[in-house]
């Protein structure tokens, strides 16, 4: 746990400015096994303290790789000096954003990790299982990754808090070969919120899904390339989550709105079918914790849900305190920093399309000629909402039934056009949280959604 060298220094906060002081520890563990060879065996712990000061529309920030009273004083002074320098050179003269409710939020979850040996043995056991049971695979990789962020925060005019987000994953990659000798790959993450021992008990719990993964790669060996063009398709919950995050979520981050994203001209307008709603959840969905719960952000704002699309209408942005004031919206706790040396940026937390009422089998049955896209290995989107997802597993749909597996392809579209074609949403919800969102700094995020029936452009081969 972080020793509290923060609170005693609140008395040093300057008057008339907004100040944040944050101590933070980031831990990570990594083990990589490539075709039986242990090639990666690493861990790291990075800690320090930072201060940020807001004055007349500009920020000053400073950080030091040291959690001490002296470091707290030093970064407070440097951040204040930086804010003064910027104010004197820029002369924005913007008024202070409003204060938010004070108080203290204690949502610390233990981040203590087991010994490195535990990660290695777990990974080796998973690797051995695959090696023995599926010797016909051309290659296999097993990786374990566990990381955590632990933050102690004090602010001049908001919530203080002590929070942490630990998460742990096992990644499996299988390589096979099509009948004509073309190499094919499949990738699957297992895991979620919590330290490694909270998330994983014994490796055999993963084996049923590993077996399914092998069956998929077998199916893919006989796979076909999908036809290029626009077709009615079903996107799995994993793809819907990626759509929510990449193609819509980024465009409604208020800093990107100010940078000219497509959402700048669409607030209050219809951007999706009326059955589509989308929310950036803070910590809870349907009475249960979301994958990576956030209770207070790094500006001292208590985290609440941010509704983004409501029944097809674009109803909100994700903000920090400064942009919330600018857009006349309430801040919802989206200002997050990755490392002690990072300033808070507007980031997503757990962004999801809300489930509907349809059954997946009915959705499949409603399509005569289309595709069911199941797994993705990559996704990118533009501030215009144009998106591209790499598809590494899917099936054709013919006459309402699933057919042959698909070889790798790409799908694309423009989010606010494609979402208008949605006419069915499944009643199930799939969450994912194993990746990092990249936007100046990395950030662990959750994303989710139901299966979505819609029209998308398929790249074919």
């Amino acid at each position: 746990m972080i020793k509290d060298i923060i609170t005693p220094n609140k008395s040093l906060f300057a008057a008339g400015v907004h100040t944040e002081l944050r101590a933070q520890i980031n831990k990570s563990r990594g083990v990589t096994i490539i075709s039986g060879n242990l090639t990666g065996n690493t861990s790291s712990e990075v800690s320090g303290i930072s201060a940020r000061v807001y004055k007349n529309g500009v920020y000053g920030f400073s950080s030091m790789a040291e959690c001490s009273e002296d470091a707290a004083k030093a970064v407070l002074k440097a951040a204040t000096d930086n804010a003064v320098f910027m104010d004197s050179r820029v002369n924005k003269g913007t008024k202070m954003f409003p204060a938010v409710n004070g108080g203290y939020i204690d949502r610390y979850t233990c981040t203590n990790t087991p010994e490195q040996k535990r990660y290695i043995e777990f990974a080796k056991e998973v690797d051995n299982y695959i090696a023995i049971k599926y010797p016909d695979l051309k290659g296999r990789r097993v990786a374990v990754r566990a990381d955590s962020m632990e933050k102690l925060l004090a602010t001049s005019d908001g919530k203080d808090g002590y929070t942490s987000i630990p998460r742990s994953y096992v990644y499996v990659i299988m390589t096979g070969e099509t009948n004509d000798g073309t190499p094919i790959e499949l990738f699957k993450p297992f895991g979620g919120f919590g330290t490694f021992d909270n998330v994983f008990t014994t490796p055999d719990k993963l084996y049923p899904e590993i077996d399914e993964m092998y069956q998929k790669i077998r199916a893919k060996q006989e796979g076909i390339y999908p036809e290029a063009g626009v077709k009615t398709c079903i996107l799995s919950g994993d793809l819907a989550g990626m759509l929510a995050h990449e193609a819509v979520g980024h465009t409604v981050e208020a800093d990107l709105v100010l940078g000219g994203s497509v959402a700048a001209h669409n607030l209050g307008k219809e951007v999706a079918s009326p059955i589509v709603s989308m929310v950036d959840f803070a910590h809870t969905f349907n009475g249960e914790s979301v994958p990576l719960p956030v209770y207070v952000d790094d500006e001292g704002v208590e985290a609440i849900d941010a509704p983004l699309i409501t029944n097809g209408i674009l109803t909100g942005y994700m903000n920090n305190r400064e942009t919330a004031e600018r857009f006349g919206m309430a801040p919802t706790g989206n200002a997050r920093a990755y490392s002690f040396s990072d300033e808070p940026l507007i980031r997503m937390r757990n962004t999801a399309i809300l489930p509907g009422t349809s059954k997946l089998e009915d959705m499949i049955a409603s399509i005569d000629d289309g595709y069911y896209f199941v797994d993705t290995n990559n996704g990118q989107a533009d501030t215009t909402g144009e998106f591209m997802f790499g598809i590494c597993m899917g099936y054709e749909i013919k006459n309402g039934k699933l057919g042959r597996a698909l070889l790798d392809t790409t799908i694309s579209g423009v989010a606010f056009e494609m979402l208008k074609t949605v006419d069915m949403l499944s009643d199930t919800m799939t969450w994912a949280s194993s990746g990092f969102c990249g936007k100046k700094q990395p950030m662990p995020v959750g994303l989710g959604g139901p299966a979505v029936k819609c029209k998308v452009t398929i790249g074919g081969r």
């Binding site: 490539i34 060879n37 090639t39 065996n41 690493t42 861990s43 712990e45 990075v46 800690s47 320090g48 500009v58 920020y59 000053g60 920030f61 400073s62 950080s63 790789a65 040291e66 930086n82 804010a83 910027m86 050179r89 820029v90 924005k92 490195q116 290695i120 051309k138 296999r140 990789r141 390589t175 073309t182 190499p183 790959e185 626009v230 800093d255 990107l256 100010l258 940078g259 000219g260 497509v262 001209h265 040396s341 300033e343 990559n378 990118q380 533009d382 501030t383 215009t384 144009e386 591209m388 997802f389 790499g390 790798d408 790409t410 694309s412 423009v414 452009t457 790249g459 074919g460 081969r461």
Partner: protein, 434 residues
Amino acid sequence: MNTEKLYNITENVLSQLRDGGAEIAYCTARMSETVEFNVDGGEFSLLRTLFDNGLSMTAIKGGKKGSVGSNSFEEASVRATVESCLAAADSSEADEHWGIADDQGEKCFENGALTPDMNGLFDRTKELLQTIGEKYPLIVIEQMIISHTKSHSVYRNSNGTVFNSKGGNYSVSLMFSGHEGEVSSSFFSSGVVTDNLDKPFIELGSIAQDLADTEKQIKTIACEGKYTGTMLLSPGCLCEFIDSIAENFASDTTLLDGTSIWKDKLGEQVADPRITISFCPKSPLVCLGENYTGEGFISEDFDFIRDGKLESFFASYYISRKTGVPRAKNNSGNMIIKAGEKSVADIIKGIDRGILVGRFSGGAPGINGDFSGVAKNSFLIENGEIIGAASETMISGNLAAMLNSLVDISSETVADGISVLPYAAFDGITISGK
């Protein structure tokens, strides 16, 4: 002062790792300072000053390897990090192929601008903003990050090598898009690394060209149908494609698991004879180079592909010993591609139907080299002329096949402080509209 501190820390760490039973060990202690100006939505928003440390160490005990990183130089913390490193090694599996370079002696390196000119940096940033406002009125700056980082590190290993490195550089990075009313282009990014503030930033790298191109990408035209044509890659996009080729066909991972389709092709022709791709951290055109590798070798320039022949993989020393292929002589990413003889304009004149690609938004290429994705920030070419910016256009092909269907490489190159790259055109690419 820093030198003595860094020498002492690395000496203590190495001594403790050896006392703990490591036959082979190496560590790096690093101190850095960063000054950074941020511009958001076209306005100055933030000044950051960062004071950071880094301590990384690796122990190999009985052939078992463990690596640990931290950023604390506090004595008790360093001791705990050493213990973690030894424990990680103990937990690992023995592999006789781990190793480090023979003793390279004690060497000092000094690169770039060690002292930042904060006022000069602010003024150049302000000047860039003003220039963009005046010359590129349709551009909206989403974010601009201008910084100077100086670092001092000491690397020490158990064979006796000590490398003392000091370096400093300015970095310019901007993300922007073009806007006219409610119509906008795709976003684009541009940037450079430099060791001086002598020239206005707008004159560096491809910043001016990128801004001008983006203004022309606000209004787009649709690509009609699906055809096989020519793909002319911009320098930045060419770099991404070559990176994918290196990752898929020549990296540690694909050499070790045997999935590289080039694993038996060293010394053989894998590309058009006009293609030479080198990695040159020692080039005078590179500001952010590499002095040594993590395994303790002094970095040297090398050719990846020379006159179309595969000359080197990107194999680490471990993979080299494990698989028998020669190790790569640096790990820098300082890519230099030999320029051609035709101008970009003349290359375009020779293209019947194709696309000039500024950015590729695609899935990770398959390990066989198949790629497919959206051509972003791109222009359609017909009958030797650019006919307009492309909307929703997909391109697909195969990385290995592409290298053998070169049309031309441009005489113009872009140097951004990290790499020196031309434009290059390839045939046989599937190009399709919506």
